[in-house]
Every structure is written in structure tokens, then in C-alpha cells.
């Protein structure tokens, strides 16, 4: 089309972008504000970031998030990759149905998943803690890993595995020497995605965590509720940057040849 884009459309787009990003930018900027209560700019400071180090609850929350995140990532990466392999390479009854079913955990509201898991653990009298959180996170992360790895598998040249076999490599050797190296960026990408989802999760975690096992989002939620100090801005900024970097890496990996 040769007609230029109408000015008002560009204006509207700019406003929307503003709306989408301004609140977070403001949040980040004010994490450096040298003032505890006022939203007036009083000078640049890193004290709120330093305060974070001094807060045991934040450090404990971070530790919990990292433990749960790592465990959930590894488990869902392995399970998800196996599932993706089954969907991509095997012919079996119910394959279509399973592919569709994978979307259900993604579509289900977090509140529903959280509640139902709480009920399960209560019924089994299983104590709530880091284990239950990990179990819950794996349950919703698997779908994401499968989607990413499946996309990579489907884009993969099927002849590669056949070429390896005709050159003398049996199924197991072919898998390790040819399939996995090809798949690796996809698996890593899916893993990073899973870690990010796990790290950021609040709703589901809030239902399946016990008193001593608060993850970072839960601690932050508590801080938001109690409306304390700009430390919230500081921890929010850190979380923002950390996850942005992870997602960027996941995206690069997903595109890697």
C-alpha cells in the first residue's frame, strides 16, 4: 500500500506504548529515589538496593525461588522433552487429542490450578512446602517446554536421523549424537522459559506454599500489601531485569540454527 499511515494512528500507537511502559519505567526510576515516602525526586541513591541485602525475608525468598525454580526447570525440561519426542516422532492412537490437551494447563486459570492442588495435598495430608511448590510448578511448566521443543523437532530435518542410521548408528546412538545436539537450543530455550514462569509465579504458589516456604513473589506480595518502602521498587527492578535477560536468551536460543 502506498498511502502513508495516518498521523492520528501513529499518535494513538505512541500513547498506547506509553501506557504499556510508563508505569514500569516510573517504578524503576523511583527505585533510585533518595526519599522514603515522597514521590518527589530527592536525589539518586542505591540505599534501597542495599536494604534488600539486609532483609532476611527477601534473601530467604530469593533462595526459595531459586531452589524451586532450578528443580522445577530440570524436571519439566526432561519430562517435556520426552513428551515432545513422543508427539513428534511416534505414531500412536490419541496423539491429536494429547496435543490439544497440552493447552489445557495453559488456559486454566491459575486460581483453579492452585486451589485444586491445595485440595490434593490436603487430602493426602502432604505438608505444604518447597516440595509441593515444585510439584505445582512442574505441572504447569511441562506444557511450555513441550511447545518449544516440539516446534524445534518439527522444524528438524527428519532425514538427519535416517542418514545417521544408514551410516551405521543405531537408534540410541542416533539420539545422542544427532537428535540431542540439534534439539539442545530448543531444550535450553524451553528450560529458560520454565524457569521464568516458575520464578515469577505468585497465584499458584500462594496456595501450595507453607508458612516457612515463601518464594520471592510471595514476599513481594506481602511487601506490596503492607505498603512499605521503595525497597519494593528495588526488588521489582531486579526481578524485571533478571527475567528480561532470561527471556531474551530463551528467544535467541529458540532461533539458533
Amino acid at each position: 500500500m502506498n498511502t502513508p499511515i495516518p498521523r492520528w494512528l501513529i499518535g494513538l500507537t505512541a500513547v498506547v506504548y506509553f501506557f504499556l511502559h510508563l508505569p514500569v519505567l516510573v517504578l524503576v526510576v523511583f527505585s533510585f529515589n533518595d526519599s522514603k515516602f515522597s514521590v518527589d525526586w530527592r536525589g539518586f541513591t542505591l540505599q534501597w538496593y542495599q536494604r534488600l541485602w539486609e532483609r532476611p525475608d527477601i534473601l530467604r525468598g530469593l533462595k526459595a525461588s531459586l531452589i524451586v525454580g532450578s528443580a522445577a526447570t530440570v524436571i519439566s525440561a526432561v519430562l517435556g522433552t520426552l513428551l515432545a519426542l513422543a508427539l513428534a516422532r511416534q505414531r500412536f492412537r490419541g496423539r491429536r487429542a494429547l496435543e490439544g490437551f497440552l493447552f489445557v494447563p495453559i488456559v486454566t486459570p491459575e486460581i483453579v490450578t492452585g486451589i485444586s492442588l491445595l485440595l490434593l495435598f490436603a487430602l493426602l495430608k502432604f505438608p505444604l512446602g518447597l516440595t509441593t511448590i515444585t510439584i505445582a510448578h512442574v505441572a504447569f511448566c511441562i506444557s511450555f517446554v513441550v511447545i518449544v521443543v516440539l516446534a524445534r523437532l518439527q522444524g528438524m530435518d527428519e532425514n538427519l536421523e535416517e542418514a545417521a542410521m544408514i551410516l551405521g548408528a543405531d537408534e540410541i546412538t542416533t539420539f545422542w549424537k544427532i537428535t540431542v545436539p540439534q534439539l539442545w537450543p530448543g531444550i535450553l530455550s524451553g528450560a529458560l522459559l520454565a524457569f521464568t514462569m516458575s520464578f515469577d509465579d505468585f497465584v499458584i504458589t500462594s496456595f501450595v506454599s507453607g508458612p516457612g516456604s515463601s518464594t520471592l513473589p510471595i514476599v513481594v506480595y506481602g511487601m506490596v500489601r503492607k505498603n512499605v518502602e521503595p525497597s519494593i521498587n528495588a526488588i521489582s527492578t531486579i526481578i524485571l531485569f533478571a527475567t528480561a535477560i532470561l527471556i531474551y536468551l530463551a528467544d535467541r536460543l529458540a532461533r539458533a540454527k
Binding site: L27, V112, I142
Partner: protein
């Protein structure tokens, strides 16, 4: 080791279905045990009478579901529905133009797309807090308006329906923009040229070529906003306070202060049913639409 490998290979090769199931089993088990079974338990609980401490006791009752005919709870359902629809419409109105501009721009496209995708991945909690930071009585908006003497006293922005709606739109807008962009981007530019040659002016071209062909994206985007809005909890919790109750908050309440697990399960099941209904509707519409899409 060699013999084991031989036997493993022979077994793998001889029974393709077994091979498939071996790969599926771990993830399958996890999903069944920790996703399906809990949902089943929730459904069963919703049909049992409430026990003394808020749990359940043996029996069967539909009371928890019929309770939704009570105006108090009906209102919650209506409000949730209304707000979800309103949010979808607003996102559509704001999102479509943005998607259009991105699809039309060549130089800035990557950057613009990146800026839309970025909010997707930042923590929802953090973004909601950003809203609070702006909207609360001592927040940025109020303090600047006071400073510029636009108002004399702080405006109550937080804990109003307006705050919740803003929060919902802010949270879900990227979900609307991306599918519409994807749909527009696939549009064959020669269709516009053909329309132009046939005498159609820009507005007519939009109305009769662009808009109908971008419908799949519009429908997808609408669903990607509507469904999470239905089940949303955090936004109304943090931005709405005690008064702007959506169904998500109702559910959460039953599991904390109200201590009524079966009722909470029923409410939860209703949300789930609404979401699934929306998804099924979308799948039907998608298949019907696929037959009308232009041949490439």
C-alpha cells in the same frame, strides 16, 4: 552392557506403541496426577456438604451451585463477566490500531514488536505494583496533579472499578495486539492493490479487505484477553480492594477467611467451565473460518 543395549534396541524396535508410551509416561503421569486428578477432586468436593472446619463431610449436595442464584453471588458473576467483556472491547479498540501500525511499518517493526512482547514476560505482580505506585493516594499521579494544582485533594483512583479495569487492560493488551498483528502481517499486499485498481478508497479498502481478513486474529486476540480476564485474581485483589470482587477473589476468599472449601470449589469449577466453553467456541469458529480464508 552390549547385550543389554541389544535387547533394549530389539524391544524398542519391535513394539512401536510401547516405545511411544515409554516416552509419554513420565510427563503423562505428572499431568494426570497433578493436574487432572486435583481438578477431579475439586469437582467432587463442590458437590459435598461443608464440614465443621471448612472442609467437607460425606454426602451429596447441589447447594454450593444453587447458591450462585443468590443476588450477592450472582452479582459477582455478572461483574466478572461484564468486566471481562469490557476489558476485551477496550483492548480491541486500543490494540487493533497498534497492530495495524506495526504491520505497516517496515523500519521500526522489530523494535515495536519487541516492545509489545516485553510486557508479556515481565512479572505480573511487578507490573500490577507499578500500577499501584502510580494510582494510590500518595502515588505519582496524585502527587503531580496536586503539585500542578489541578486538584486540591488526592483523588481516589486506587480501589475503584476504574483502577481494576485499567489494570486488566494494562495486563492483557499485548495478548490482543500480537494475534491481530500476526493476522495482518500475513495479508497479501496484492489484495489491497487489486482493490485500489478496482476503485476502492482507503477507508473502503480497510472495511472490505483488511478488516474481514484480519478477523481470525481479532477472534484469537479477543479470546486471549477474555479468558484470563475471567479467571483473573491478582488485579482485582491488589487494585480493587474489598469491594471490587471478581470470581477469582471469591474463590480465594473461600480458602482463606471464609473457610468454605466446597463452595470455593464450586465457584472455581464455574470459572473453569466458563473458560472451557469459551475455548470450545473458539475452536469451532476457527475451523469454520478456515474454510473462508483466501487461497494462497
Amino acid at each position: 552392557m552390549g547385550a543389554f543395549r541389544e535387547r533394549a534396541l530389539a524391544w524398542l524396535y519391535s513394539r512401536p506403541e510401547a516405545r511411544a508410551w515409554a516416552l509419554l509416561a513420565p510427563a503423562g503421569f505428572w499431568l494426570v496426577a497433578f493436574f487432572l486428578v486435583p481438578l477431579l477432586i475439586m469437582f467432587v468436593y463442590s458437590l459435598m456438604p461443608r464440614g465443621i472446619y471448612g472442609g467437607v463431610e460425606p454426602g451429596f449436595t447441589l447447594a454450593h451451585y444453587t447458591r450462585f442464584f443468590d443476588p450477592l453471588y450472582l452479582q459477582v458473576l455478572q461483574r466478572t463477566f461484564a468486566w471481562s467483556i469490557a476489558c476485551t472491547v477496550i483492548c480491541l479498540v486500543l490494540g487493533y490500531p497498534v497492530a495495524y501500525v506495526i504491520a505497516r511499518s517496515r523500519r521500526w517493526r522489530t523494535l515495536l514488536l519487541f516492545l509489545v512482547v516485553l510486557p508479556f514476560w515481565t512479572s505480573f505482580l511487578v507490573r500490577t505494583f507499578a500500577m499501584i505506585f502510580l494510582m494510590r493516594d500518595t502515588g505519582l499521579i496524585n502527587s503531580w496533579m496536586l503539585k500542578l494544582s489541578v486538584i486540591q485533594e488526592p483523588l481516589t483512583i486506587l480501589y475503584t472499578p476504574f483502577a481494576v479495569m485499567t489494570g486488566l487492560v494494562y495486563g492483557f493488551l499485548p495478548f490482543m495486539i500480537l494475534p491481530i498483528y500476526a493476522s495482518l502481517e500475513k495479508l497479501d499486499p496484492s489484495l489491497h492493490e487489486a482493490a485500489e485498481v478496482l476503485g476502492a478508497r482507503p477507508l473502503a479498502r480497510f472495511r472490505r479487505v483488511t478488516l474481514p481478513l484480519s478477523m481470525p486474529g481479532v477472534v484469537a486476540g479477543s479470546l486471549l484477553v477474555f479468558i484470563p480476564a475471567l479467571g483473573s485474581f491478582l488485579t482485582s485483589d491488589l487494585l480493587g480492594g474489598a469491594k471490587q470482587v471478581m470470581i477469582g477473589n471469591l474463590v480465594q476468599n473461600q480458602f482463606s477467611s471464609a473457610r468454605n472449601w466446597p463452595f470455593g470449589s464450586a465457584a472455581s469449577f464455574i470459572v473453569m467451565a466458563l473458560v472451557l466453553a469459551a475455548v470450545m467456541w473458539y475452536l469451532r469458529v476457527k475451523d469454520a473460518g478456515a474454510r473462508i480464508e483466501p487461497a494462497k
